[in-house]
């Protein structure tokens, strides 16, 4: 299945060819953990990870056409 991945800030370095936004083919029944493994993103790396605009944890199952966004935790105003 195909999902769309968007990596920002410090996470850009994990993108193939350092492209911020790209399509990725995942095996069926993949979850967030599987996606991080494929992209070589360490689990312990502090992050904000969204699936379709909502926060998601490692076990969240992914579906075709999901949009996954990962960026560094931030704060401010």
């Amino acid at each position: 299945m195909d999902v769309q991945v968007k990596l920002y800030g410090l996470f850009k370095k994990y993108a193939p060819e350092e492209r911020q936004e790209f399509q990725l083919k995942l095996p069926p029944d993949s979850n967030v953990k599987k996606l991080l493994k494929i992209l070589n993103i360490p689990f312990e790396q502090e992050r904000t990870l969204l699936v379709n605009g909502q926060l998601a944890g490692l076990e969240r199952r992914l579906e075709s056409e999901d949009i996954i966004v990962i960026f560094s935790p931030m704060s401010g105003g």
Binding site: G9, E46, G53, Q54, L55, F71, M74, G76, G77
Partner: protein, 610 residues
């Protein structure tokens, strides 16, 4: 006293009389300082019905017991008065170097009253205060004023002043210190202008006395080491890209206010986010006194038509002048920010008022002939031109100078002003961050994130994430965040460091680290309960002022666009903000009646019964 200087300076501008007063130790303990001292004096000394521009209004500029102590981010002061924009109180807060210098000049707070017959400035040189003529400075911008005053007094002094916007009573004029730091919101600069006070110059000596200097030093080292370890592992976004880095989060959560709050995502967001600012215009980071974060941005723009140098923009400016106006030209946004700094304007209300005017034109309620120029969504040149006209009250700028509510009302559509208590919102959309809606509605200054910022829970996951779309349970956590904000504001600290590093790691955000700093600085030995009670006392004392000025539940409101119209697109699609449900829970958590009035039992508990 330790931590506090123990002295207040009173300046009557009508009679030009200046006198010193002792800070009552009980008042200091009960109200801490900063915001707490501000509301203590406002309640004691002015009628909440007072006309904000009358000589009867007073301005309190107050540092906190941790200002200037070397505690991380202990750099801040609070400016409190009755606001001409909202009719409620102001709580305009700034860092930089001025607040520390003001405290070292000999005073915890300055209370300004009356109205001078001609323009004056106040010079405090190591405990000696005098009023001097400012006739030659009237009409000058904040940078020129600062430069002249440093020449006239002492190059090592620090200056807080108003620009032409404050002199001309623009309802959202700021007081600028250290050139580009702003006590920005609610028109504090206009109140200063109404008093014919152009500037305050301070020169200090020595350092703040601490009750337990050795303990303070050891604890400070420990806190800073922990901070350094954490940021070595994951660099802090605030340091890397400034507050404008937050655009990445708000865009992707669908809470980046766009097109005067009609949308929650902005197509041009990549152009205006912090990373673009760093790449295009950043000269260097700038830190306030004793701040390890350095979120300030010194920037330079060379693009034709927008050339300039200064500080900014912050996230709030980027939202208000950028996505909210559909402007993706970061050079134009930055230039408009510079003009705000120089003329002395609040960038949030300025940007939001232009966005409101753009929608009035778009819907055919306001003609471009009235404005005297085209005003379409996305027009960066118009933003720059109108900002300058507003600061000088020229042409149509004279109407923009009244803020978005009065503008939209004048053209028959007050519902298009996105305000609470007539003050424009910061850049977090309540339909996709429910508690932020409650924070805007219940803030004592009207739309604001800094008197309670539950976006930390909903969008940043600090100290932990809370479902941003859920409204149940938000009354309780919003109260907790507001209470610690009152303590941070009173102590003289900055929220950016304090929430991550000086609060308990749960949604109760108890001020555990602030407690230690305060006790070692002052020797007062607060218990955690006493300190938390002081936070509640400050907020309830503010509420008493608001109640007497006529505010109650009806004013703790949000525009119908956010409560009745579901978000049309993006990750917050379909949501409205459930303000009524949250208000019930919030009032109950506070011990206020369902109409938003503190109960006699609560007043008794907090020692506020009259």
């Amino acid at each position: 006293m330790k931590g506090w200087v123990g002295k207040i300076l009173r300046v009557d501008l009508t009679t030009k009389k200046i006198k010193e007063e002792i800070l009552d130790p009980k008042v200091a303990k009960d109200y801490i300082g900063g915001r707490g001292l501000g509301i203590y004096y406002l309640n004691k000394e002015i009628d909440p019905g007072t006309d904000p521009f009358s000589p009867q209004n007073i301005i309190i500029m107050a540092t906190g017991p941790l200002t200037g102590t070397g505690a991380p981010t202990g750099a801040r002061y609070m400016v409190m008065t009755k606001s001409p924009l909202t009719g409620a109180i102001t709580c305009s807060n700034a860092g930089g170097r001025f607040p520390t210098e003001m405290k070292r000049s000999g005073y915890d707070a300055i209370v300004l009253s009356g109205r001078a017959a001609e323009p004056l400035y106040l010079y405090i040189d190591q405990g000696t205060a005098q009023l001097r003529s400012a006739v030659h400075l009237w009409g000058q911008d904040t940078h020129a004023t600062t430069d002249t005053l440093l020449q006239e007094t002492d190059p090592k002094a620090r200056v807080a002043c108003i620009g032409p916007a404050g002199e001309k009573l623009v309802l959202f004029a700021a007081i600028m210190n250290d050139r580009d730091r702003a006590a920005g919101r609610s028109g504090v600069g206009a109140v200063m202008g109404s008093k014919n006070l152009k500037a305050i110059v301070v020169k200090g000596k020595g350092s703040v006395q601490l009750a337990d200097p050795d303990g303070f030093k050891a604890f400070n080292k420990d806190i800073l080491n922990k901070y350094k370890e954490a940021v070595a592992k994951t660099p802090l976004g605030l340091t890397v890209n400034g507050t404008a880095g937050v655009v990445v989060a708000t865009q992707n959560f669908g809470v980046l206010p766009t097109k005067n709050w009609q949308l929650g995502t902005f197509e041009g967001w990549q152009e205006i986010q912090g990373e673009s600012l760093s790449k295009k215009f950043l000269v260097k980071n700038k830190a306030c006194y004793a701040c390890p974060i350095a979120c300030g941005r010194v920037t330079r723009v060379t693009e034709p038509g927008f050339e300039g140098e200064g500080e900014g923009p912050e996230y709030e400016t980027v939202y208000a002048m950028g996505s909210n106006c559909m402007i993706d030209n970061l050079a134009a946004i930055t230039k408009a920010n510079y003009i705000c700094n120089e003329l002395g304007l609040d960038t949030i209300t300025m940007g939001a008022t232009v966005a409101c005017a753009m929608e009035l034109v778009d819907r055919g309620y306001l003609s471009e002939d009235d404005i005297g120029r085209p005003l379409k969504w996305g027009d960066g040149e118009a933003l720059v031109a109108l900002t300058r006209m507003t600061g000088n009250r020229e042409g149509f700028g004279d109407l923009l100078a009244e803020g978005s509510y009065r503008l939209a009302e004048r053209y028959g559509h007050p519902e298009l002003a996105i305000v609470s208590k007539k003050q424009e919102f910061p850049g977090y959309e309540p339909r996709g961050a429910q508690a932020m809606g409650l924070a805007y509605a219940t803030s004592p200054i009207g739309g604001s994130h800094m008197r309670g910022d539950p976006a930390y829970f909903e969008l940043f996951g600090v100290p932990e994430f809370m479902d941003r779309l859920q409204w149940k349970g938000k009354g309780i956590v919003t109260k907790a965040f507001q209470d610690i904000s009152a303590i941070i504001d009173a102590a003289g600290l900055c929220i950016f460091f304090s929430i991550r590093n000086l609060a308990s790691k749960d949604l109760g955000v108890a001020p555990v680290g602030i407690l230690k700093y305060l006790n070692m600085a002052t020797g007062v030995n607060y218990t955690l309960e006493e300190l938390q009670k002081a936070g509640e006392r400050i907020i309830t004392a503010e509420r008493l002022f608001l109640n007497k000025a006529g505010f109650d539940r009806k004013d703790d409101s949000l525009p119908t666009r956010l409560t009745e119209k579901p978000m049309p697109e993006g990750p917050s699609k379909g949501m409205v903000c459930h303000i009524d449900e949250m208000l019930d829970e919030y009032y109950q958590a506070r011990g206020w009646t369902p109409n938003g009035i503190p109960t006699p039992e609560l007043l008794e508990k907090l020692g506020l019964h009259q």
